[in-house]
């Protein structure tokens, strides 16, 4: 393979590296505040460029650098999720960060580097590469979480996130070393081959190795019992960062899980199904039950996104193509609904509103449009038709039923009823209770409204006409599972 071919396959990542550096450089060169206003748009241009590169690469498959980097359509799906979600986050951050920090250039370039981390994770097929890229994502995320330096909550969030993350990384590294010790390779496909030939005594090491690995991946996903960082980090981080954390890093965790389980440990399948279905059931139940008691809307969404991670894990508790498809599709629906909800929170707090659920009282009378949008996002998260989340959940439930996991399906459907309770609590505040202040929430900036409209379109379109996206994901999943 020639250098130019390799570079072409790396185009999305290269564009992101360039964009991150350009933002950083321009921040240095542009002295006046006026010019710095353009930095987020430069970042946005970089993200759009990366997205274009991904579209251009669609359908190409190759393994690079001796097997550590795999370019395939399946990875591209996750890269698209990462880039789209970061794009929405950038749009929603512009106004929010304006008054809060003087260091805006670094903020956007850190966001881009975090996204770069996710893109690399999506293509990593080697344990060392996985470790490095996860660290790239983690370290940028820690800094972003603590970005409001004046705010003690933000500091606390960052330090908690960091401490949990460091422990999780260490555990993950230990799991990797076990796998390496047992098989003599860090390459995922090589590990599978070595384990296939190994005698039975070696099989015993897989379970401890998997558990340690899960600590690292589960940390990124926010799966129980590695979720404790999430509520504090979500509550304390600047809201656009919270929005970012709730989607991109989760997606990264999921694709690593998929690659490790499906490529490196295919022989582990029966145990995987038990392990993942139990984790999934506990994760969604705990997330939903604890979310009921939350008074702070960001914290509530933190628990909600823990629960959502539980739903997404359902797709991995099964063996079929359908499971994989439903998982990726659900991630897409979750992206729009969850980011949409955070965008509303940002608009609301830009207008001087607090983060407590009670602050949303009477929103339908103050700003009917905002309330309606929030209603749609929350109902999509709860899985109410005709919104995207319903199709996503229906797909997941269908997938687990195909494998006959009736108990898990019952747990999952009852969970979606529980979740409705706290989503409706916000709806109750917005629609049933009278407003405490009469004035409408100040109109959102153009960038924010743009992001909001995109999220709305996503939630409605994927609910009413999901077929093209489903077919796309299905083809990618089939290629991944057979390849």
């Amino acid at each position: 393979m020639t250098l130019s071919q390799i570079l072409a396959l790396l185009a999305p990542e290269l564009v992101l590296v360039m964009a991150g550096l350009v933002v950083l450089g321009l921040d240095l060169v542009w002295r006046e505040e006026k010019k710095k206003e353009w930095l987020p748009y430069v970042a946005l241009a970089g993200l759009v460029g990366a997205l274009a590169a991904m579209v251009a690469l669609w359908g190409q498959e190759a393994v690079l650098f001796g097997g550590i980097f795999t370019a395939d359509v399946f990875a591209l799906l996750f890269k698209v999720i990462a880039v789209v979600s970061t794009g929405l986050v950038v749009l929603s951050a512009i106004e929010f960060m304006r008054g809060r920090t003087p260091y805006r250039g670094e903020f956007y370039s850190l966001l881009i580097f975090a996204t770069l981390g996710i893109c690399f994770i999506a293509s990593s097929t080697d344990l060392i590469m996985i470790y490095l890229t996860i660290e790239l994502l983690s370290i940028t995320s820690y800094i972003l979480t603590g970005y409001s330096r004046e705010d003690p909550k933000s500091n606390e969030a960052a330090i908690k996130y960091f401490l949990y993350g460091a422990v999780a990384s260490a555990a993950m590294l230990y799991g990797m070393s076990l796998l390496y010790g047992a098989t003599g390779s860090t390459n995922l496909s090589q590990i599978a081959i070595a384990l296939g030939q190994a005698d039975a005594s070696l099989q015993g090491i897989i379970l401890p190795a998997v558990i340690f690995l899960l600590a690292g991946f589960g940390f990124k996903i926010g799966a129980v019992p590695f979720h404790q960082w999430a509520p504090d980090a979500y509550e304390g981080a600047p809201t656009p960062v919270t929005a970012f954390l709730s989607v991109g890093p989760k997606a990264a965790g999921f694709i690593v899980l998929v690659r490790v389980f499906f490529v490196a440990l295919p022989s582990f399948q029966p145990e995987r199904i038990i392990l993942i279905s139990v984790i999934s059931a506990i994760t969604m139940t705990l997330g939903n039950l604890v979310a009921i008691w939350q008074k702070n809307i960001k914290r509530m969404l933190a628990y909600s996104s823990i629960a959502q991670a539980g739903y997404i894990l359902l797709g991995m508790a099964v063996t079929s193509n359908l499971g994989m498809t439903s998982m990726v599709f659900y991630l897409m629906t979750y992206l729009f609904a969850n980011l949409g909800a955070f965008i509303i929170i940002i608009i609301f707090s830009n207008g001087g509103g607090g983060d407590s659920v009670e602050d949303y009282a009477g929103l339908s009378q103050r700003s009917p449009g905002l309330a309606l949008a929030m209603l749609l996002f929350l109902l999509s998260l709860a899985g109410i038709p005709p919104l995207a989340g319903f199709i996503g959940k229906f797909y997941l439930f269908t997938a687990i039923m195909e494998d006959g996991l009736l108990w898990l399906m019952v747990v999952a459907v009852l969970n979606s009823v529980i979740s409705l309770y706290y989503y409706l609590e916000v709806v109750r505040q917005m629609y049933i209770l009278p407003p405490k202040v009469e004035e409408p929430v100040p109109a959102a900036s153009r960038a924010l409204s743009g992001a909001l409209i995109m999220a709305m379109i996503g939630v409605l379109l994927l609910g009413l006409y999901p077929t093209p996206l489903i077919e796309l994901i299905e083809a990618a999943a089939r290629a991944f599972l057979s390849g």
């Binding site: 439930f397 039923m401 399906m409 409705l420 409706l424 049933i432």
Partner: protein, 487 residues
């Protein structure tokens, strides 16, 4: 493709709701006019479809089909037969009357009517869906606006509690049924959610035994089956008038319809196994519901529990698995829908005038509101099962069917009829006759619009009572093939 009557019936309210969303919130009369026009279009077309249905040919008619999510075999498939036609007609009448009776709604009418129309679109959709996935979409589309309507515009004392209770009950019911539906999908192995095609698959006996129960009970929660009925009186009472009318009038029928169309139609062997047990629950509905209704002091709770009791006849008719019983149940759905709609309209009118619903605080209202009193008494006689009114034909058929299959149950349920007569007479007497309370001297009679609404509904009760074949002929075209499957 022929003219999409059913799609227009379903989407006319949604279009109405969208237009209302775009209108400025101060334009109350424009909002109400849009709501009325879209409800009227749906009603008119449902009347047209009802009379345009070819009874000789039978089966599914006015079908429309379009691919939606082909990878799971989900399609947008609509159609109607003898079982769904009366319900379509009922929904059309009730929403039209509901919009009219809400004409005085001046508290945030924009959201109120938008939600009301979305709700009714969901109800129409459930009755015409021939795809299980689509049916669920419409089902939940109908439940959520209910939460907002009761919570936002209901009786302040209990509305939040009642709205949340209702929503959670109904969603638990629906997800339990959903588990069964997805199980059906895989068991059939033909990769489709199409009801008509799934009905042709002969599922094995063990599967039917296992999954009939969750599906039937899941839907029956919405029909108010004892002991899952408690959400229903609370919901009725807390809801604003138009919503109570829709709720008791058509929403509960969605449950019975789902139990019939999904449970009994697709899993007939399971139905034979379980229905003889479920009939015991239905008789509790009838007798216990009427007893609780008798004990109530709150006028609206009386009606709420009478709904529980009357829906018991619907469920009982279904469990008989005979033509006469099931067509009686279908007729009862129509009859009860109109009758309860009428009752709730009356309660709403009285409450608006007197600001109380406590029966001991009312009395002698017939002198001030003679028209309302007559309408209520007509409804009450239908409720008691007086010959000449629709309730008689329906309940007679249900009891005749039950007598053939479960004579003991039929005998017990007669107690319900007696108690029903007792509480209807008690309430009519105490509210409309006797001395007029001094503080009610100043109240005025119903407005022309309100009289018009009451007239439509009372007239329908009489027409169907005197000439039941107008409905029964159509109903039988749907029930006869269903009963053939149940044997």
């Amino acid at each position: 493709m022929s003219f999409p009557f059913l799609s227009i019936i379903v989407f006319s309210p949604i279009v109405g709701a969208l237009i209302i969303t775009a209108l400025p919130k101060e334009k109350h009369s424009a909002i109400k006019t849009v709501a009325l026009v879209s409800a009227f279009i749906s009603m008119l077309l449902s009347i047209y479809v009802f009379f345009g249905y070819d009874q000789a040919a039978g089966g599914m008619q006015f079908e429309e089909q379009m691919q939606w999510i082909p990878s799971l075999g989900i399609s947008y498939h609509l159609g109607t037969d003898g079982i769904s036609l009366p319900l379509l007609l009922l929904t059309g009448v009730i929403i039209f009357c509901g919009v009219l009776i809400s004409w005085t709604q001046d508290d945030r009418p924009k959201e109120f009517f938008a939600f009301l129309l979305v709700l009714v679109a969901g109800v129409f959709g459930v009755f015409v869906s021939l795809d299980l996935f689509l049916l669920f979409v419409f089902y939940e589309l109908a439940v959520l606006p209910m939460y907002l309507l009761i919570g936002g515009w209901g009786w302040p004392v209990t509305r939040e509690y009642a709205a949340m209770k209702l929503t959670l009950y109904l969603l638990v019911g629906s997800v339990i049924a959903l588990v069964g539906v997805i199980a059906i999908y895989f068991e059939a192995g033909i990769g489709t959610f199409d009801i008509m095609r799934l009905a042709e698959v002969g599922f094995d006996t063990g599967f039917q035994y296992a999954f009939f129960l969750p599906i039937f009970v899941g839907f029956a929660v919405l029909a108010g089956l004892w002991p899952f009925h408690t959400w229903s009186p609370d919901g009725h009472v807390a809801a604003p008038t138009a919503v109570s009318m829709l709720h008791a009038g058509v929403l509960m029928k969605m449950g019975a319809y789902g139990a019939l169309r999904v449970g009994m139609f697709i899993l007939p062997v399971g139905a034979q196994k379980w229905l003889p047990w479920i009939v015991v629950l239905t008789v509790v509905n009838v007798v216990y519901g009427s007893m609780v209704a008798f004990a109530q002091k709150d006028f609206k709770y009386v009606i709420g529990y009478s709904s529980v009791s009357h829906m018991g006849y619907v469920a009982m008719g279904l469990t008989t698995m005979t033509v006469v019983g099931i067509s009686g149940a279908s007729l009862q759905m129509f009859s009860h829908g109109i009758m309860t709609g009428l009752f709730f309209a009356v309660v709403g009118l009285i409450y608006r005038q007197t600001h109380t619903r406590q029966i001991p605080e009312l009395g002698g209202l017939a002198r001030k509101m003679p028209f309302v009193a007559v309408a209520f008494i007509i409804g009450g006689m239908a409720s008691m099962g007086m010959p000449g009114l629709s309730g008689f034909v329906a309940e007679f058929q249900v009891l005749a069917g039950t007598w053939q299959t479960y004579p003991v149950i039929a005998a017990i349920s007669l107690i319900g009829i007696v108690i029903t007569a007792a509480y209807i007479m008690k309430v009519s007497y105490k509210v409309f006759f006797g001395p007029l309370k001094a503080e009610h001297e100043g109240i005025s009679a119903a407005s022309v619009i309100e009289k018009f609404v009451l007239f439509i509904m009372a007239a329908l009760l009489i027409v169907v009572g005197l000439y039941p074949s107008i409905l029964l002929n159509v109903i039988n075209t749907g029930v006869v093939p269903l009963v053939m499957r149940l044997r």
